[in-house]
């Protein structure tokens, strides 16, 4: 490898860190999964550069690092494979969040319906229909989330993962988040009418917190599915 082919190597530059930073900037996904994959990738580049280094000078180290970067692949070549895994990781994270939140929503409504003084049993017919629909949304999204976890886990050994699965999980999460928002509003309205209003208000607070959590996960999943 000649200096001309490699370009003028200066000891101050660090091709490995630059490459890892460029790849990181091109990727979207859960911070933990992304940082783990990039940490492994960086360690691999350092090992490769050590193998390719001929002597112990700074200039040689930079040349070896540049060569290692070239052998590992450009950002354009690597990003699709990394992004596919990160999108699946985000879809699984969103699915797990939906699976946790949907039963919580059902529990809140169950509590409100049967707890004395919350007005659930005597709620108007329209409110009861709304409760039933929100419960159905929660149940369907939880089932979809469970199916997504299976389809991206052990089942993926046998069957290819449907291409649109991450987007489906994202929109299921969005539906669950919307159901939570409506639930929170209904709970706030109920707290005004109910004699046991602190329970309604507390339930609304909890639902709002989970709405924020699931809406964030669904938004991140949509972004990942878009860049895939």
């Amino acid at each position: 490898m000649t200096a001309t082919a490699e370009g003028a190597a200066t000891p101050a530059e660090n091709p490995i860190e630059t490459h890892v930073a460029d790849l990181a900037a091109a990727l979207r996904g859960p911070a933990r999964a992304k940082s783990r994959m990039l940490a492994e990738f960086r360690e691999g580049l350092i090992d490769a550069a050590r193998d390719l280094s001929c002597d112990d000078t700074d200039v040689d180290r930079v040349r070896a690092a540049r060569r290692a970067v070239r052998e590992f692949g450009t950002v354009a070549e690597l990003a699709p494979d990394f992004q596919r895994e990160l999108t699946v990781a985000q879809a699984r994270l969103t699915a797990r969040t939906v699976m946790l939140v949907a039963p919580l929503l059902l529990m809140c409504w169950y509590l409100l319906r049967w707890w004395p003084g919350t007005g659930g049993a005597s709620a108007p017919g329209a409110a009861r229909v709304l409760v039933a629909h929100l419960g159905a949304v929660a149940a369907v999204t939880a089932l979809l989330a469970a199916a997504a976890l299976v389809a991206t886990g052990a089942l993926a050994r046998r069957l290819p993962m449907p291409r649109r699965l991450p987007l489906t999980v994202a929109w299921s999460g969005t539906a669950a988040a919307a159901a939570l928002a409506v639930s929170a509003l209904t709970l706030v309205a109920s707290s005004v009418l109910a004699s046991n209003w602190p329970l309604c208000a507390a339930a609304a607070g909890v639902v709002l917190v989970f709405h924020a959590k699931i809406a964030g996960a669904a938004r991140a999943c949509r972004e990942c599915a878009r860049v895939l």
């Binding site: 895994e85 990781a89 050994r157």
Partner: protein, 115 residues
Amino acid sequence: MKASAVRGHLDGLLLSVLESGPLHGYAVITAVQERSNGVLELRKGTIYPALNKLERLGLLRSVWESEGERRRRCYELTDAGRRSLAEERSVWKEFTTAIGSVLDPASAPGPKPAT
């Protein structure tokens, strides 16, 4: 052999080099190249998402190991990974036998073509 040709067989190659014991990502890359005498060209960076996928599928498990200031993630086969590798080998054998029979009928096992 070009990286694009290797791509469809990458999972099997990775499982195969991990059969003898745990390795970290770069050691997996060098093991594949050494076993193929450098014939198989890998886009080395793609190994890391491939290892991640195999772990997600339950075919590998991994742990972080420290070596001085360095931390490396070491992978090893699970029982499901060993079964999957055995299947990969069997499918590959059938495939190469079938292709070999077509490309080189003279050396293929079974009845010889009519002359």
